[in-house]
């Protein structure tokens, strides 16, 4: 069932056992798992069926620190959530991403990759993916990694018919929870705002917050403030350890044999370090995106190489004549070290139309990350040279220690952390089951529970964790 407002929903006879707040990949996946088991669910979607400036306005906020995207641009507030502008790139966090890194504080998850692996077949169905192929080591230090560029499932479009027909799932559009009421042990209700006005209190046995990697922290911070700590009793880490995947062009490469790597339809291939290399260099994970360069770019690069390595440049020039192109741009996206100072806070003076404080995002890249991008490119360059696969040139801004360029992508629009998973009450918000510490009926879905970000796009892991949480709730409620 799909309702256009909370008022419409109230005319229906469905009494939800579970209230899922948000209809993005996590929210819809969890609701479908519950609905399939016959458990009545209400899914609240703050926006409508289409993008609207009015709805997006609720996402405005401010950023303190490094340059970042406008907060109303970097996510979408309508049915399907941010899956509506997702590029469709898929890969699951690696097993080593779940393990602590001794050289990076506050890394490590309370679960392992094998805990989400049973749900990957479901994820493949949901995201319509072929099987992943195994990564290919190209040296002891670097792997050619497999990243599937899928057709980017828009969750609203894909599941609208199924949700319309469902008797157990009620998707309520144009309806948000402005805050949750809690007594320190359980959530007692959600304050509802629908179609421009307060609309009452929604009650359910369980509440699952799936409003996105920025908004989850905002909703819980505000709810905790108005409930005097009754929503997140252990709130020291709430909003903190927020992470992105910073992304910058870091260099170029001349490829000795570009048939060595199978590039995809967009002429791209992806590389990541081995766990041993990360440990040896004490750096974070990273992904190098190699994009074949058009002919003029290759010619300029070879001319530069000729000043330093004339023989290799001469060889490359000959290749250039044969193949028209044999060079590549190198983009690097990397894992941020989780830091408590990177955090989502509530603005003291900037509110949305419902009176809820907007986000003040505090975000800076660290020295460890700067070293990660530089050492990562060196590692890749050494592997290319060692194996005679090509030669890499690192951009001047990196080797000369200049500031990050301001005319590039900046980051991946990947919002992670803020309600991280863990066992330490001072450094985490949810437990291994995604349940808020000390709360009996409050769960969190989405990338805000990530403890670390790895180097890959988060949607595949978000969906796997949502399947796992849906499964957990189904079994818990069935008891």
């Amino acid at each position: 069932m799909i309702f256009e407002s909370y008022e419409d929903f109230q005319t229906a006879s469905l009494t939800p056992k579970v209230a899922v707040i948000g209809s993005g990949p996590a929210g819809i996946t969890i609701a479908r798992k519950l609905g399939t088991a016959g458990i009545p669910v209400a899914v609240l979607e703050a926006g409508g069926r289409e993008f609207s400036d009015e709805s997006q306005d609720f996402y405005r906020g401010t950023t303190v620190g490094d340059p970042y995207f406008d907060l109303e641009i970097t996510r979408l507030r309508y049915i399907g959530g941010s899956s509506n502008h997702w590029a469709g790139w898929c890969r699951v966090l690696d097993a080593h991403d779940f393990k602590p890194k001794a050289w990076a504080p506050d890394t490590g998850w309370p679960i392992e990759r094998k805990d989400i692996e049973p749900f990957l077949p479901e994820v493949h169905d949901i995201l319509e993916l072929p099987e992943f192929r195994a990564d290919v080591p190209i040296s002891d230090d670097m792997r050619w990694v497999q990243l599937i560029k899928s057709n980017a499932v828009r969750f609203g479009e894909k599941y609208a018919d199924e949700l319309t027909k469902s008797r157990d799932i009620a998707l309520v559009l144009n309806t948000s929870a402005t805050s949750l009421d809690g007594d320190g042990s359980k959530i007692t209700g959600a304050q509802i705002w629908s179609n421009g006005k307060q609309a009452g209190l929604l009650k359910a046995d369980y509440f699952v917050v799936c409003t996105g990697g920025l908004e989850n922290s905002r909703l819980l911070l505000w709810s905790n403030q108005v409930s005097n700590g009754g929503v997140v009793p252990h709130a020291e880490a709430l909003g903190k350890y927020w992470m992105e995947h910073p992304t910058f062009e870091g260099g170029n490469a001349i490829l000795a044999d570009y048939d060595e790597f199978e590039v995809d339809a967009a002429n791209e291939a992806f590389f990541s370090p081995s766990p041993a290399a990360m440990e040896r260099l004490k750096i974070m994970n990273f992904g190098i995106r190699l994009i074949k360069t058009p002919y003029p770019g290759a010619k300029r690069l070879i001319a530069d190489l000729a000043c330093n390595a004339p023989d290799f440049a001469e060889w490359a020039a000959a290749k250039l004549g044969q193949h028209l192109r044999c060079a590549a741009q190198l983009y690097v996206a990397w894992e941020q070290a989780p830091r408590a100072n990177n955090r989502i806070a509530l603005s003291a003076s900037y509110m949305d139309h419902t009176g809820v404080p907007r986000i003040e995002l505090h975000w800076k890249k660290s020295e460890l990350e700067r070293r990660t991008i530089l050492e990562g490119l060196r590692l890749f360059g050494q592997t290319m040279a060692e194996k005679n696969l090509g030669r890499v040139r690192i951009d001047d801004w990196l080797t000369s220690g200049e500031d990050y360029p301001t005319n590039q992508e900046l980051a991946g629009h990947h919002h992670m952390g803020g309600t991280r998973m863990g066992t330490d009450l001072a450094k985490s918000v949810v437990d291994a089951d995604c349940k808020v510490h000390a709360m009996g009926n409050l769960y969190v879905g989405g990338s805000s529970v990530f403890c670390t970000s790895g180097e890959c796009n988060p949607t595949t892991t978000i969906t796997a964790l949502a399947c796992r949480l849906g499964d957990h709730l189904t079994r818990k409620i069935a008891v």
Binding site: C307, N308, A309, R378, R393
Partner: protein, 52 residues
């Protein structure tokens, strides 16, 4: 031991090398990376043999 005299060839080579000094100063000095067989020159990650 008789005093060794410089041949015209050596003197010419020295003069030629001296003429290259200013341009060499303009170029980044090769920096050895952690692996001895690699050098970093003007941002390029190269093998030492590339510079031959």
């Amino acid at each position: 031991m008789p005093e060794k005299t410089l041949s015209r060839r050596i003197i010419l080579n020295l003069l030629f090398a001296l003429s290259l000094v200013p341009s060499m100063l303009d170029r980044s000095k090769p920096v050895a990376t952690t692996e001895d067989e690699f050098v970093e020159v003007n941002g390029w990650i190269l093998k030492k043999s590339d510079l031959a």
